[in-house]
Symmetry: C2
Subunit: 221 residues, 2 copies
DNA sequence: TACCGTTATTATCACTCGATATCAAGAGGG
DNA sequence: CCCTCTTGATATCGAGTGATAATAACGGTA
């Protein structure tokens, strides 16, 4: 055999800088999502993409910098997935248009949570205790969406379209209900014997969430 | 100073076996909830209760045995908190009584999630990947509640009391929506500037969840 | 072909981890 | 008091961690 067991490379191959950087980012998301910041090892992140552990400190400044870069990358994907769902200024939109946009945003967020469970897994890992990482991710990435959802919800609520629920509480109801089966996908497979990545599950899940939060806007009514 | 910095004991004190076991169990829950199994260190668990790390291997067989014992303890508390909320045989109860019991169970579960965020934190940490620990906790502790909730929900749904949502999906909507603000309490404080352990938050949260899942049974209607 | 900047690879550092062996000190019985 | 069983306390082991220094080999350019 031409290589040692588990050795990333015996025959030296060289990759373009952007290739290996992106490969390391994606690998880091999987590991950070599954194990948290401290639990993820840089050796495991590198091994997934057939790289060596010191390459992380070469292409990124540190494990912490890799974490931040991978989180930036992930929220970039989220931004693309949600782009245009909520109107920039809810006050100027018609309420029915706003409600339809809110329902559409829910469906898109559920799909994203299913395709990228790492996002909510990382949030859960970071958000159990105050830290510099939590402060950064909250202010840099979470707050814009939190504010937009809160504003839209309060507009709909005051117009009588939805239940009289505090917008802070609504945000956590929504995020928790949308992400739980994908964050704990391994449990779903054991408990329900179903794969939550199945498009049928994702679709039913999204419609259920729309049905309970925006009764009357469900696709099936 | 009479003791080294961070040293649990300089002057030797002896505690009853049951006392230190229970102290270690509670400390373990906090650490396992915040950091997961691998992330929690036995030294930190011991230090919280002014004990030494080897005492864990003395009073419990291993870190894994301590984890299992602390999870057993926690689900014991959950069982007490939920005792009697759902009728043993939903088919024999009147549907309106079943619905009231379901709403009551939601309120109790939200309160428990707020008082013991470790439970859902531990589940999230364990449920991201298949493992012996996940299989054990699922079969020993999760499945009974999952089955009871599913049966009650399907009864209510087929009687037209609630939205036509698959019971597997409903379970994860419920668990996620009920636990999220307490699992990520540090984020709530940063983002909303509110403490989710506040009784007012807990009460509003529980009522909101009842309102969207069991419209018409909300305490405020 | 010779060179040089860039990247891959190896080796190693100080540190933390869970577990265990060893010894010291407590408590209760006679 | 002394004996014995139990528990506290210390030291240490091998394994794994992130980071870094040192070296080797690639790829383009002159």
């Amino acid at each position: 055999m031409g290589r040692k067991a588990d050795a990333p490379h015996n025959v030296r191959t060289r990759r373009a800088r952007t290739d290996i950087r992106e490969a390391l980012l994606k690998s880091a998301l999987v590991e950070f999502g599954a194990n948290g910041f401290d639990g993820a090892s840089t050796r495991a992140i590198a091994r997934r993409v057939e790289a060596h552990q010191p390459q992380i400190n070469y292409h990124f400044e540190s494990k912490e910098a890799l974490w931040a870069a991978s989180v930036d990358y992930l929220f970039g994907l989220l931004g693309e997935a949600l782009d245009g769902a909520l109107p920039a200024d809810p006050a100027q939109a018609s309420t029915s248009h706003l409600a339809a946009g809110f329902a559409d945003g829910i469906r898109r967020f559920v799909r994203f949570a299913a395709e990228h469970p790492e996002l909510n897994q990382i949030m859960v890992h970071e958000a159990t205790a105050a830290s510099n990482r939590l402060t950064w991710i909250t202010e840099a990435h979470i707050r814009p969406g939190f504010d937009a959802i809160g504003l839209a919800w309060r507009t709909l609520r005051d117009a009588g379209w939805v239940a009289p629920i505090d917008s802070d509480i609504l945000y956590y109801l929504l995020v928790g209900a949308a992400s739980q089966p994908y964050v704990t996908a391994a449990e779903v497979r054991l408990l329900a014997g179903r794969d939550p990545r199945d498009p049928e599950w994702i679709d039913s899940h999204a419609e259920a969430l729309v049905a309970i939060l925006l009764p009357g806007l469900s696709r099936n009514e």
